[in-house]
């Protein structure tokens, strides 16, 4: 009974294994990508899950039980609310100032040929390739030498500094793909340079400027190292987490982390949807 089947089986099996091999080859990349995405989201799942944890001790490391209390009283932990406020204030102010300064530099670099543009490019590039700890340490040395007490002001100065380069790079990318004919048309129609800039140039590069300011905001609100060196006694949200990691990690930290994550993702999702709709209309 079984003696007769092998020959048949071989002929039918071979294509099957080939098909299976083809299937694997076609989908191995899909599987890899899905695994990579799962890996990226694993810690985030933990952060979200543990925001609902009801920890017994001071540390929120092991699962004890489900609760909504952390979410209904997110700022009940002493010092957390103040830290978040400082972080948001600094992120807003540093994004505002660095976007203004960086956009002006980007305009100069793309629009004009002038002596010193290579040096300017270098000045923009180097801070992005300097380890944060070195930047933080050098600012600390500066403030010590100039006898400037560290605090809100020094954090703000530092954040504006490291944001400028990122703003320049982002806005410049938008300016490079810009059609100069639109400005020439406006000038031909009698608009002067200021009116042309205000009515034609600025609206067209606005998405780049918005993206740059969002990036600056995100970089600022997440910065730990440079802030750590220059904060004095002021506490930002990342500094608060750092302090907490040593003595007690309250689940409220997970709540705030989850909330920031959700807001950022929803904002970016909305941006993608708007862009897709625009692309469809065009």
């Amino acid at each position: 009974m079984t003696a007769a089947t092998p020959a048949v089986e071989l002929t039918t099996r071979l294509p099957a294994t080939t098909r299976a091999w083809r299937f694997v080859r076609r989908h191995v990349l899909d599987v890899y990508a899905l695994l990579a995405l799962a890996y990226l989201f694993l810690p985030i799942g933990i952060v979200v899950a543990f925001s609902f944890n009801n920890p017994l001790g001071r540390f929120n490391y092991t699962w004890q039980g489900f609760t909504f209390t952390n979410w209904t009283h997110p700022l009940s932990y002493p010092g957390l609310g103040g830290a978040i406020r400082v972080s948001i204030e600094i992120a807003l102010l540093s994004a505002l100032v660095s976007t203004l300064l960086g956009t002006l530099i980007a305009l100069a670099l793309v629009r004009y040929t002038f002596r010193g543009s290579a040096t300017t490019n270098l000045l923009i590039f180097i801070p992005m390739t300097t380890p944060e700890i070195v930047m933080g340490a050098s600012l600390l040395t500066l403030f010590l030498n100039w006898k400037i007490p560290q605090g809100f002001g020094t954090i703000l100065i530092a954040h504006i500094m490291f944001n400028i380069s990122y703003v320049v790079v982002t806005v410049r990318a938008r300016l490079v793909g810009f059609d100069r004919h639109l400005e020439e048309a406006a000038m031909d129609l009698g608009a002067n340079e200021l009116v042309t800039f205000w009515r034609v140039t600025l609206p067209l590069i606005a998405p780049g400027i918005l993206a740059a300011s969002l990036l600056a905001f995100a970089l600022s609100i997440d910065d730990f190292v440079i802030t750590y060196f220059n904060a004095g006694t002021v506490t930002t949200f990342p500094l608060f987490v750092w302090g907490a990691a040593r003595v007690a990690v309250p689940p409220q930290i997970n709540v705030v982390g989850t909330a920031i994550f959700a807001i950022a993702v929803l904002g970016m999702l909305a941006n993608i949807l708007v862009q897709n709709r625009r692309a469809k209309r065009a």
Partner: protein
């Protein structure tokens, strides 16, 4: 107003530049100069006096050689691991993403909107002794019955790999996305198999992305101290931990400043070597192929 702009045209770029570059000069270049001066100073906090104390450098290097080597080693391994994880992912998004490319890209970046420190604390939870990863590894005898993941080099390297992943994925994606699909088709038409067309067409064209990704991952990784602090022990401390404690706990500014410059120098040398390898050999070979 128009006439004013016209007459002073040469001055316009400088007027645009000055506020921003002045900020960078005062708060980036000048601090670096002060740090250099500090690296050559002597004395105790807060009274340091400048005196060409070059011995600061040799003392710092000989005292913390282990941490230096360890930093470059951890950063190197983490960068390679990040490249191996990111390249297929970026490739998949660029070539298989279709009209969902932006959404997948968002999925890649999204985890990094959770604050750096919170992400690292989450890894502490995942890798902890009572956690599932340790349990599984003990069951399959990769780890001994009381083996741990936390407080090992593996944990620190894993943390570094994870934390700087977007710096690797994004440049890789940008360079892969720009590749003209017709070039790869042409390679297929000329009877090259997928492996050959990848290694002779796709990979060489994506090398600028590889270079940028490696640079953007390796530099912050080499200077990091958070992963070693939260996931490791002093046995895993990197040069960042030393600089941090020399500055903020021991207040030994001259040593810390000297260490900062040695770190920057080491990174610069390695980056130049890497650029050399990638630039002269691979890039020209890719262009010739």
């Amino acid at each position: 107003m128009g006439r004013f702009f016209h007459r002073t045209r040469w001055a316009t770029p400088y007027a645009l530049l000055t506020p921003g570059t002045a900020w960078l000069v005062v708060f980036f270049v000048v601090p670096m100069a002060y740090l250099a001066k500090m690296a050559l100073s002597q004395g105790l906090f807060p009274l340091f006096s400048f005196g060409w104390a070059w011995s600061n450098f040799s003392d710092a290097v000989s005292a913390y050689r282990t941490q230096f080597v360890r930093s470059l080693e951890y950063a190197g391994i983490a960068t390679v691991a990040a490249l191996l994880i990111s390249y297929p992912l970026a490739y998949w998004i660029a070539f298989r993403g279709g009209r969902w490319k932006n959404l997948f890209l968002l999925l890649v970046i999204a985890p990094f909107f959770v604050t750096y420190l919170i992400r690292t604390l989450a890894w502490e939870t995942i890798l902890s002794d009572g956690g599932p990863v340790v349990a599984v590894l003990r069951d399959v005898h990769v780890l001994g019955a009381d083996g741990r993941l936390l407080a090992t080099s593996a944990a620190v390297i894993a943390g570094i790999t994870y934390n700087f992943l977007p710096f690797m994925v994004l440049p890789l994606y940008v360079s892969l996305e720009q590749i003209d699909g017709r070039l790869i088709e042409a390679a297929g038409d000329l009877y090259s198999n997928p492996v050959v067309s990848f290694s002779r067409v796709t990979l060489p064209l994506s090398l600028p992305g590889v270079f940028a990704g490696v640079l953007l991952t390796f530099i912050p990784a080499a200077g990091d101290f958070i992963n070693a602090q939260l996931l490791g022990t002093p046995q895993q401390y990197m040069i960042g931990n030393v600089i941090q404690s020399q500055f903020l706990s021991l207040r030994n500014y001259p040593t810390a400043a000297a260490l900062s410059f040695v770190l920057m120098g080491a990174i610069l040398v390695l980056v130049l070597i890497f650029a050399r390898i990638l630039g002269t050999d691979r890039l020209t070979a890719g262009a010739a192929a």
